[in-house]
């Protein structure tokens, strides 16, 4: 028997799990929210999403091929997700060239400058989004109204987001009962018929994505649940103290980027903690910071900032919060 046998250390079997399977399941999980946003924002949503995805893939390819001179890995799906998530964090009437700048910052600065997939400390899509928010504050805060701007891109009819209406009303000295009829109902918020970033509007679609990612074991529940629970608890306490100067917790959960942030942005593997204990700390931190920015900060919305700030703490969390080791008990 002269046949040469392969010799390698154990284990000799593999689960078949792959990076691209995980990534494409995230993409699948984003499809419901994409469908909803195309339904509400029409052409604008399509243009912004397409430009963002193409630009992210192109920048990753160009940087890997010509700057880093390595084999491009755009087929692994991670740049596709960054492109989708960046678009989800932008208004649907954003000029295409601003989207391209956002993609360049996301991929170039947010991801590749740190060494590419697996090494970036901050969520690349959020790096791009926050860069645009600071650089193009006017374009980044004009929000097309749903349904009526379906057939329009740059000339879409715009209006304020529910969070901005509340923030402005409260700062003028109005109380919640006066503001109440200017903002959408909880049901409208849940179904997504409000102004806002592309992908953040429809809580139900994002929750479908969450369930999909849980079923396919792409993520665990810890980060989304800890963020949502923290925001609900914190805003709930404020609301119980004074329901005239504070919006109710369900309003807080269904508006702005809470669902998108909690389910898709904060759960980014690379920039979140490695085990449940750390995930709780991370999630609670994001929840608390979000509410602080919303209630006392200058911006009406704070999810992006909260996630980026907590991203910075992830290495510390991983370093000092260890999973419980087996056998780490008092000697019997």
């Amino acid at each position: 028997m002269n046949k040469l046998l392969a010799v390698s250390p154990s284990p000799h079997v593999h689960s078949g799990e792959s990076t691209s399977r995980l990534m494409y399941n995230v993409v699948l999980a984003l499809i419901p929210a994409l469908a909803v946003t195309i339904f509400y924002f029409g052409i604008g949503a399509l243009v912004v999403t397409a430009v963002s995805i193409v630009a992210c893939l192109a920048f990753e390819f160009l940087i890997q091929k010509y700057l880093l001179k390595v084999k491009p890995t755009i087929s692994d799906g991670s740049a596709l997700i960054t492109g989708l998530l960046l678009a989800f964090n932008l208004p649907s009437n954003l000029p295409w060239w601003i989207v391209v700048i956002g993609a360049l910052v996301s991929i170039g600065i947010g991801k590749m400058s740190f060494g590419g997939l697996g090494n970036n400390p901050f969520n690349p899509a959020l790096v791009g989004r926050v860069f645009l928010l600071i650089s193009f504050p006017v374009q980044m805060t004009s929000w097309p109204l749903p349904i009526q701007s379906r057939m329009a891109y740059l000339d879409a009819v715009t209006g304020a987001t529910p969070l901005a209406i509340v923030k402005e009303g409260l700062s003028k000295g109005e109380v919640m009962s006066q503001i109440a009829d200017k903002i959408p109902s909880h049901m409208q918020l849940f179904m997504g018929a409000v102004g806002g970033s592309l992908g953040e509007i429809a809580a139900f679609a994002l929750l479908i994505g969450f369930v999909w990612m849980l079923i396919t074991k792409v993520i665990t529940w810890h980060i989304p649940v800890s963020i949502i629970a923290t925001i609900a608890a914190f805003t709930g306490i404020l609301w119980l103290i004074n329901s005239e100067t504070n919006a109710d917790p369900i309003f807080h959960l269904l508006t702005g980027g809470v669902m998108l942030g909690a389910i898709f942005m904060a759960t980014d593997y690379v920039t979140s903690p490695m085990h449940p204990k750390g995930m709780w700390v991370f999630g609670i931190g994001i929840g608390v910071l979000t509410v602080i920015i919303r209630v006392w900060g200058a911006y009406p919305e704070g999810v992006s900032f909260a996630i980026l700030i907590m991203n910075a703490f992830v290495p510390l969390i991983n370093r000092y919060m260890k999973p419980k080791r087996f056998g780490e008990v008092r000697k019997v």
Binding site: P9, P11, G118, T220, V270, P323
Partner: protein, 444 residues
């Protein structure tokens, strides 16, 4: 709700093709190669010379320390050579080669199939008999059994755990043994209980072997103080620490032994070998070996004399298919890939698996860790494989030690689950070796 261990674990495809194949006797080979080190601890010292005639069951190499084991001839015949031979580890190891002539056994060995239930030996007599018979842990670790029976001063066991989990995919040798040697197993357990001075024994079996569970429950009712417990299927439940956690919810402390939590774990195969040694004066000269694989013409379980070439076992299964790319000695998760199928079956050989070419090779790319944390969530020891992998690559050994790399039992769950297919366990093994060397140097 069935019991299982709490931390980590994976579910590799079970592929237990040979579960219904009754144990057959493998025909005697023409020649056996018996390594003098088939156990953990000091190699035995050969007591025969070239040209000596030996009988089945005769000692051919003597235990050379407390943690060591006797080696017996598994056949009758003439010693052909004492030489270094490629064994299943892939290294040349000293071994005794015997040319088979007939099948003559030592007269004191009771070869009848009659069940012998009664015994009146003391603890010391049992330990001496087990030690003389060269019995080692047959689950794969091959730790000399008499050492486990000799409880250190100041420690006490209150329960004996019998490992019938067989959590490795493909393997079915323990499964068949439980079905076909249930009474011998029970008497073996009685003997072990007596040696350890415990009243209570629990046999843990995963519920992918419902026939073994129900059958053993029935048989156990004829004996006193033996309980059979079905367990939820999860790898690596057959790990000593995981099995103890699953059955009696005690956690062996890091760096400790089962006796630190008042228990001792023996494999079902070991318990049967103890029965043979004590009741039948039969040393450990043969064992049940599973031969299996997806494209093998026939899979089965064979009673094989120690030292039989693995190639002969493969012949019995219809020969290696042409698409074979790898042959593994042991289970797919922890077994060793063979570089030659002429290597002998040893005391630790629980199974031989052939893998087709397409499953034999790892993906050669160099993908990135995406920090998905799946390795952390499956580690049964609560370690962080991604971190140990990195620390080992960067040779940061003090940190590696502080992160408890020595708690790793090399179950392979991390490498199994890694979506980037990173060789996590390979680097962790390297790191363990270095850390062990550093600790030894520190002690000296």
């Amino acid at each position: 709700m069935l019991k299982t261990f709490t931390k980590g674990g994976v579910h590799p495809p079970e592929n237990k093709f040979s579960a219904n194949a009754a144990i057959e006797n493998l025909p005697l080979p023409k020649q056996v190669v018996i390594p003098i080190s088939q156990h953990i601890g000091a190699p035995a010292a050969a007591t025969v010379a070239k040209g000596d005639k030996v009988l089945v069951g005769q000692v051919i190499a003597k235990s050379s320390g407390f943690v060591s084991a006797n080696i017996h001839s598994s056949v009758s015949g003439t010693v052909a050579s004492l030489d270094a031979v490629l064994d299943s580890t892939g290294y040349k190891k000293p071994a005794i080669t015997i040319t088979v002539e007939g099948d003559e056994w030592l007269p004191e060995i009771d070869r009848s199939l009659e069940l012998k239930k009664e015994f009146s030996f003391t603890t010391e007599e049992i330990i001496a008999k087990v030690s003389a018979a060269g019995v080692v842990g047959l689950g794969g670790a091959t730790f000399p059994s008499h050492v486990k029976l000799s409880i250190p001063k100041g420690k006490k066991a209150d329960v004996l755990i019998i490992n019938g989990v067989e959590c490795e995919p493909y393997l079915t040798s323990d499964h068949r043994l439980m079905l076909e040697k249930a009474h011998e197993l029970m008497v073996g357990i009685e003997i072990l209980k007596k040696a350890l001075g415990v009243e209570h024994a629990i046999i843990g079996i995963e519920n992918n072997k419902p026939d073994a569970i129900s059958y053993l429950i029935k048989i156990a009712s004829e004996y006193k103080g033996i309980e059979v417990q079905g367990l939820k299927v999860k790898y690596p439940q057959g790990g000593e620490k995981q099995l103890i956690k699953a059955l009696i919810n005690r956690e062996v402390p890091s760096g400790g032994l089962p006796i630190d939590v008042g228990t001792v774990v023996h494999n079902v195969g070991t318990a049967v070998a103890v029965y043979d040694a004590v009741q039948k004066n039969k040393p450990l000269i043969e064992r049940v070996v599973t031969i299996t694989g997806k494209s093998l013409p026939k899979t089965g379980n064979f009673m094989v004399r120690i030292g039989t070439p693995i190639s002969q076992l493969i012949e019995a299964a219809g020969g290696l298919p042409t698409d074979t790319g790898k042959v593994v000695n042991g289970g797919p998760m922890m077994g060793k890939a063979l570089n030659t199928i002429d290597a002998p079956v040893t005391k630790g050989t629980s199974g031989v698996i052939s893998f087709p070419e397409k499953e034999a090779k790892r993906v050669p790319e160099k993908p990135a860790c995406i920090r998905c944390a799946k390795c952390v969530s499956v580690c049964p020891m609560g370690l962080e494989p991604f971190l140990l992998n990195r620390l080992s690559q960067r040779k940061i050994f003090d940190r590696l030690e502080a992160e408890k790399v020595l708690d790793c039992m090399e179950c392979g769950s991390c490498s199994f689950v890694c979506p980037a297919n990173l060789p996590l366990l390979d680097y962790i093994r390297l790191g363990k070796g270095e850390v062990n060397a550093i600790i030894r140097a520190r002690k000296n």
